[in-house]
Symmetry: C2
Subunit: 344 residues, 2 copies
DNA sequence: TTGTATGCGTTATCAC
DNA sequence: GTGATAACGCATACAA
């Protein structure tokens, strides 16, 4: 019977509810060892568990953190969650996880649900391009950390953790395009309104501009594999037309896209690095076993989650102390690791 | 200010809290259109959000479901969660996700936390080998579904959803071992007390017994890659000794293990299907791009999650109606898909 | 060192 | 149609 309450314990142990409450919260200071043991025994005997809802109502604090990710089936999101969990769980917080499916509408509903749960803080991988969508959180001065993506008008007093998307792409693009490549083709998916892929594309675009190489961007959106194959073939085949020499550098801007890219290349009979150079963002090393490996730009989603959760903890501590949580807000830029492989 | 309460709305709108409560819960039947509109406006103006904790306390129902997975960074777990989420979220349930790290101790703590949150139901990928560990849930008659793994003494009145591990392995083993393979070596990780891998291994063992072929099991546990390489080399190299002919069939019993297996094979300079046959369980098709693809035994974790969540919903409906949730308990065995590839 | 009494925000039972 | 009021289980200010 999990229905025992603090009153039952008090009655059975012959003490008052206050004393039991103190016991439950570890306030043994004002309590004789005798009563302490008696309460302990009763708690065990009745298999008592405090009701979180009653506690929350009374203390105005839930010890729950809300997390919204874009797509939990993406390895990025699951590693992000793992990092968050590793920090929050030992600190006593429980996590309510939401999957926005990269949809602004669903995200809106999920934020509302999280707010009504009175979460003590939120970590969001945002879908909306304007911060307006998260205003209800910031006006309530609720601890908040945005991860991975940034809204266009991201207020500086809100914490954010993201990879160093632009610089890593600009730098790799500059390095590779200064070689024999004649052009770069970047592949993106970009289903949500805001995405790290856009910034990554910009990095490659700037690099190509500086080196006066051709730059093409293919955005897959909802298209299927055959559509992608057609685009890739077109971009690879135009060599003759413009009379330029050298191979094409193909860049997949997110992990799951690499998958579809490989399918297209196989379908088209294209082999790397013979026919083209291939580079991809990815957060998991499986591609090292594809041929002789694929050149990767690798993020560390787990570290991102840990960083986000750490800052959130800080904010929640401030909030608990009655201070403005945004006083300890901070922006973090995480390095992107280059994992060389003979695919370029 | 998200601090508005039902009383504030009542005062501002000039009605009683009862009426506001009725409005919040959609009971428009007993309410004049005029008051309804007036309340609506006030709710919007004050940006009112009902406090979930107060609601929970009063109704004795949380609309929260607890989910415990073994390792969220494993694709299996994240797809499982996605399936669960797809069913539960539209039904109005929020999900508290816990990651047990395949540890019985951590799992125990997490169950306690979930119980104190007064979750309306639980879905667990169990770590303990005896159901004893989950007794506190079943004695409270809380809706419960066990997924993927089964405790040794799993009570029949508790719902369970798992893949058809034994038959799929026995069947594939029988098929392949009736060919020119001289022996089968199965690789498992098995860190938790209970695991689907054990049942899978049994499937291959029985098949090998029936066909009088040699059967060897290698359990990685916490060992590292070089240890694995040594084991594999030993098993592949014993051909001369026993004078038998034919290749060895190597079976990786879980997705993440395939990764380490490939690393070992590469290190040993072993090539499939030339030097050996390779088969693996996995829940994601990335391996089709490794060489010419790897023969896969593929589960459908998302379907497993959906099935588990559907049954949990049924149970929760029963519980809400005051009936025994375990009256609608059921066992589901999900098919394992064979994805042929020239690695055998 | 221990106990009494009040209120957190909501729903539900009854009365009007 | 509408409203007063009593719980739900817990934590704490205030007594003793």
């Amino acid at each position: 019977m999990s229905k025992a309450t603090i009153a039952d314990i008090a009655r059975e142990a012959g003490v008052s509810v206050t004393t039991v409450s103190r016991f439950i919260n570890g306030n043994y200071r004002k309590m004789s060892p005798a009563t302490r043991l008696r309460i302990q025994a009763t708690v065990n005997r009745l298999d008592y568990t405090p009701r979180a809802s009653a506690r929350q109502l009374r203390r105005g604090q839930s010890m729950i953190v809300g997390v919204i990710v874009g797509d939990i089936s993406n390895v990025f999101s699951s590693l992000l969650f793992k990092g968050i969990y590793n920090v929050l769980q030992p600190s006593g917080y429980d996590i309510m996880l939401m999957n926005s499916n990269n949809s602004v509408d669903q995200e809106k509903d999920e934020i509302e649900r999280l707010l009504s749960q009175q979460v003590d803080g939120l970590i969001i991988q945002p879908n909306a391009c304007y911060f307006e969508a998260y205003k209800s959180i910031s006006t309530a001065h609720l601890p908040l950390v945005m991860v991975d993506r940034l809204t266009g008008d991201q207020p500086h007093q809100i914490s954010q953790v993201a990879s160093d998307n632009f610089d890593s792409c600009f730098s790799l693009g500059s390095k590779l395009l200064s070689g024999p490549y004649r052009k770069v083709v970047v592949l993106s998916r970009v289903l949500s309104q805001v995405s790290a892929q856009t910034i990554r594309a910009e990095g490659f675009e700037r690099a190509s501009q500086a080196l006066k190489k051709k730059y093409v961007r293919i955005e897959m959106g909802d298209h299927d594999g055959s559509w992608l194959s057609k685009q890739i073939r077109k971009e690879i085949a135009d060599m003759a037309e413009d009379g330029s020499t050298g191979k094409t550098l193909l860049v997949s801007l997110m992990g799951p896209l690499l998958f579809e890219t490989l399918a297209s290349l196989r379908e088209l009979g294209l082999v790397f690095p013979r026919d083209l150079g291939l580079v991809s963002f990815d957060d998991w090393d499986w591609s090292q076993y594809v041929e002789n490996g694929i050149y990767l730009l690798e993020q560390d989603p787990k570290a991102m989650g840990e960083q986000a959760a750490s800052n959130l903890c800080l904010q929640m501590k401030e909030a608990k102390a009655g201070r403005d949580p945004y006083g300890v807000s901070k922006s973090y830029s995480l390095p992107v690791k280059n994992v060389p492989a003979p695919s370029v």
